[in-house]
Symmetry: C2
């Protein structure tokens, strides 16, 4: 059995990711401890871990709250993610075989099929599966960890994802195919890195364009 700390960590993280605890929600240690059936010490540890990942903000003698979806935070996260995802893709590319590309292609076809009856949660999941196949052979686990942290952060503010820019989803699927072509043809690492980075930052640009339009 996992430790109580792990339980608390997973439980709170899940509730943040699925939206049960919205941004700004106050996380009272004693209350969480009661709800989860454990004492406050493991809950404290869980909260501090979540703080280290940027999912909650913690103020001494005040308490923890679920981290907000500040647009600038979103920008920072997406920009950082574009950098580490791009590098991780480029590093992984030489190790990706034809079988992997076939699997990625299959996932991408599912994403294309998902464009009708658009389900943002399912689409996001498939998107992670797609890039997961690419990163499977990533030779640098540290870099991969940074990618996963970025994904987790995005999940906690997932109201800011594809849901907001539906047109971006179909572009994304097209770019996936192009990326697979590049990898399959053994393109230079520089070219692959640039493509992967732009793939992510284009989503950010679409978001910025949309919010810019809203403000005008």
């Amino acid at each position: 059995m996992a430790s109580k700390s792990e339980q608390a960590y997973s439980a709170v993280k899940a509730r943040i990711s699925d939206g049960t605890y919205s941004p700004g929600h106050r996380l009272v240690l004693a209350r969480l401890a009661h709800d989860l059936g454990v004492s406050v010490v493991p809950v404290r540890e869980a909260i501090r871990r979540l703080e280290a990942e940027g999912l909650v903000t913690f103020q001494r003698n005040i308490g923890a709250t679920v981290a907000g979806i500040d647009p600038t935070e979103y920008l920072y996260t997406m920009q950082t993610l574009s950098i580490v995802e791009g590098a991780a893709t480029a590093l992984s590319a030489p190790l990706i075989g034809p079988a992997d590309i076939e699997r990625a292609r299959a996932v991408n076809d599912e994403m294309r099929a998902c464009l009708q009856d658009f389900d943002p949660v399912r689409f996001t999941r498939l998107n992670q599966d797609f890039h997961g196949v690419l990163f499977e052979h990533c030779p640098n686990p540290h870099l991969l960890d940074l990618v996963h942290r970025g994904w987790t952060r995005l999940a906690s503010m997932r109201s800011s994802t594809f849901r907001f820019v539906p047109g971006r989803a179909s572009e994304s699927v097209t770019e996936h195919d192009a990326l697979l072509d590049l990898i399959g043809s053994g393109a230079d690492a520089d070219v692959i890195e640039r493509a992967a980075r732009l793939h992510r930052s284009a989503t950010l640009d679409a978001y910025l364009a949309r919010t810019g339009a809203d403000n005008s």
Copy 2:
């Protein structure tokens, strides 16, 4: 006054960075608590934070040990650092003014002077100061945080730094000047990013060449 957790965190981190606790050193909670004059709960929190930063490894029901200087870990950290430093430099470049460049140049001159009577600790500190000036205006705090985490990781295994490849230090100083020239001349972000990334990965390459020579 800072909380006991903070005290414990800073104290243990400092002792890891300055080498008091060498890699592999076992960190016993009760012992640390006694030495620091606090109880075990704050020490636990401190250890978990250090674990999140990768400075210590923690095994359930077994305990914590100072993270090792596994050569592959060094490789991962340096490679990741080359990526995030490169990107951070490129993002910061447009915001760096002539006064900043002058300051960076002054720090680099200090580094050049430091090449005689080589003091690796001082040199590493000046190196961080140099890049610190460059990152001062970095528009993405997340990215900057990743850079700082990388530096901290390197500090914990600083026996793997310039001390091992003395010839690399003078190259580094020369590259610093070239980098400042690039930034001052308003070069493209791509060019600056590539130069900054190579600047870091060249140190890694020098290390790999040296250890490779040792093994043959």
